[in-house]
Subunit: 422 residues, 2 copies
């Protein structure tokens, strides 16, 4: 595919970041992880459904959670813990069961899972965060968890097993790590940021049915850590839509254990900028992979809106485009039906001037001044057949730019979600 | 199907209204209509795509329009005309082409269509409203319209032809009329309210890709007419969702010509109440039919939320449930996956108390106090197999009730919208 000319809008590894091969949450120093199959999910080769992430030393932590009014007790407990401040050592996570809407048992079971994980990891229960994902409304089979948690081996390279243990309808693992250098009194120190995530339905801006865990061996000022995570989530997970539905269990956690031995990174420093870029890089990578692996998806849709009155307007517009069933089905069918893109833009009711609108599919302009211009239809159809489709809408009324990610809507999404209880 | 015990929530014909058999916009006295096939839509047996509705005498008019920022010039012109006040005699409508996002030609063409229709109907151009529906971004083939508009015969029973002329992806016609008596000095007068509508994709609250025309032979105070339409649209078309997309061309028009000879209906009277009930009845009927005939739909979903803090909360919640792809696919698959209903409720972020939630599918309660209760799964699966599925969520935190309508999401929706330019 020819490179789109608006390439700069596509998140890329910025120069000082180095990608860690097969990077995960155990790529940063001082983190271990492990997982087992405990029977919460349908059995299958290489399936895991219960895992623990642990740090050798206490971590500063930041997290964001689902905005849904119906929340899993796992979210309630982790949110309370994070809000309470303090340091954390571990995260326990299960897939296959959301532990949500099960009445008072939910909170009792979540506390017991925390306690079991704390014993297994050799940390205190108050140092453990908890996440769950899977079917809503079914009590956690605590017998299975009690029987299998003891088999979790926490090892240095356990991140990939943890990545396996959190997936549900995902068709592939989502993992990444990057590193960068910070200069200090004792010379240069290598800092690593790693992450894993799961999708892949019930996914929409403002956190989705998604779990994302990120780790770093940097020492980071706690306020800065929270700001960096919040900023990164805003331009990554909050700009992903698979199906406009939003889960009861979404959680994104960032743990910093300081094992790299750097002087704590403070806001406003060069190191802070590099750290922020690294977290954003991992988060955007995971978010894009989540969109690409949406239930039933055959392609990633990358929608960029430029020249809006504000960044918020551009965000709203980009999300509306990737969320529209009619845009998603048109792209699935390789139909250059740009009228649907304008419809999705217009339904947001953001201020715009129709006569200034330009629309591009990959690098082919198809709309100028709000109306169709002659374009080579076959080239556009071919562009729409690529595994990544870049839509760009230039509003030309201001300076606000944003990119959101989604996927096409296929028969497979319907088959999948009508035939199975997920 | 056993009658649900929350039957009162389902809109019904109230006692004093009488249904008019095969009722349409020409059921009220003094309205005529006609339509032709002019080649704007793919040809087929019994296809019509250009029609005119005309009243023998000037009408008071009320209308609501799409909220989309991208609007067809047809909407722009009709909205300006309605806002300008005055009386109207006719509506011209075409299907197969939205006359939207085509640059400056759009407004020129719309004005010419108005002028052609005015000549054909024998009225002044400023007395004509215009609507268009169909593909966005393609110029109106004015040659076809000029060639065929003269063949439109405006006849007393032309309402059904007009109903045919406005449909696009609809699989059936949507039409209804009801009548009621009002007492006056010279005895009782029969008032009739008729309507036709089209769906069936790009449909979401706040007007959809929908056109609805309603007529009445009542004389009605102009302010009351506007209020009655606005109230009716609020509990009907604005509570329908097929796919969350919202078109550039939505229009709902209500014309009152006074041909019944009644003294003008004034706000606060018994006649006003009966008139309002009649308009609401027609609007709700058409809205439900629109949801039932959603693209690819196999069933109507009727979602009622009771006991919300406010009516607005209940509306938001009911719309969220019928809009959720995961609820829609579960109902398609007859999967009593009530966790998805709670998810859709919770993502609205309206205030609720999870421990007070009750969920019913048809008359079978499946959730009490926010958690599953034992239910006979086969009965629920059977209920979900009915052509109408009633979901009820009782929040039990206030007095706000609302019902919204949608349809299931099927492979056919995807096939339809990916394979064809609509």
């Amino acid at each position: 595919m020819k490179k789109p000319f608006f390439e700069l809008m596509i998140p890329q590894l910025t120069a000082p970041l180095t990608e860690v091969k097969n990077g995960t949450v155990t790529s940063p120093a001082g983190f271990r992880a492990g997982a087992v199959y405990s029977g919460l999910k349908t059995p299958g080769p290489d399936k895991l459904d219960l895992g623990i992430l642990v740090s050798d030393s206490p971590c500063d932590a930041a997290a964001t959670f689902s905005q849904n009014s119906i929340l899993s007790p796992s979210v309630t407990l982790s949110r309370e813990a994070i809000q309470g401040g303090g340091k954390f050592r571990a995260v326990v996570v299960n897939s296959g069961n959301a532990n949500c809407s099960v009445g008072e048992h939910g909170i009792i079971d979540a506390r017991e899972v925390i306690s079991l994980a704390a014993s297994q990891a050799g940390v205190a229960p108050e140092e453990v965060l908890i996440c769950s994902t899977g079917v809503i409304g079914v009590e956690l089979p605590m017998g299975l968890i009690r029987a299998h948690v003891g088999a979790i081996e926490l090892v240095d390279d356990g991140g990939m097993d943890l990545a396996k243990a959190i997936i549900t309808t995902d068709t592939r693992l989502k993992n990444r790590a990057v590193s960068f250098e910070v200069d200090g009194e004792a010379g240069s120190t290598t800092i690593t940021v790693g992450g894993i995530a799961k999708g892949s339905g019930m996914i929409h801006p403002n956190m989705a049915t998604m779990l994302a865990f990120m780790t770093t061996d940097a020492a980071v000022d706690n306020g800065l850590l929270k700001q960096v995570l919040s900023d990164a989530v805003d331009v990554s997970f909050n700009l992903v839509s698979v199906d406009t539905d939003q889960s009861t269990n979404d959680t994104c956690i960032l743990l910093a254990n300081g094992a790299a031995g750097n002087s704590p990174i403070e806001a406003g420093s060069d190191a802070a900028e590099a750290f922020s870029a690294a977290v954003r890089d991992v988060a955007v990578y995971l978010a894009r992979e989540m969109a690409r692996d949406g239930e039933g998806a055959t392609k990633l849709i990358d929608a960029t809106v430029t020249g809006a009155h504000s960044v918020e307007d551009a965000r709203v517009a980009a999300r509306s485009i990737v969320s529209s069933p009619l845009v998603k089905t048109a792209i699935y069918g390789r139909d250059p039906n740009w009228g649907r893109i304008l419809m999705a833009l217009g339904k947001t009711e953001i201020p715009l001037d129709e006569s200034k609108l330009q629309v591009f599919i990959n690098d082919i302009q198809i709309v100028e001044s709000g109306a169709a211009i002659p374009f080579h239809a076959e080239s556009v159809v071919q562009a729409l057949g690529q595994p990544e489709v870049y839509l760009r809408v230039a509003l030309n009324v201001g300076d606000g730019d944003a990119t959101a990610w989604g996927c096409d809507l296929t028969e497979e999404y319907v088959v999948f979600n009508s035939a199975y209880t997920t």
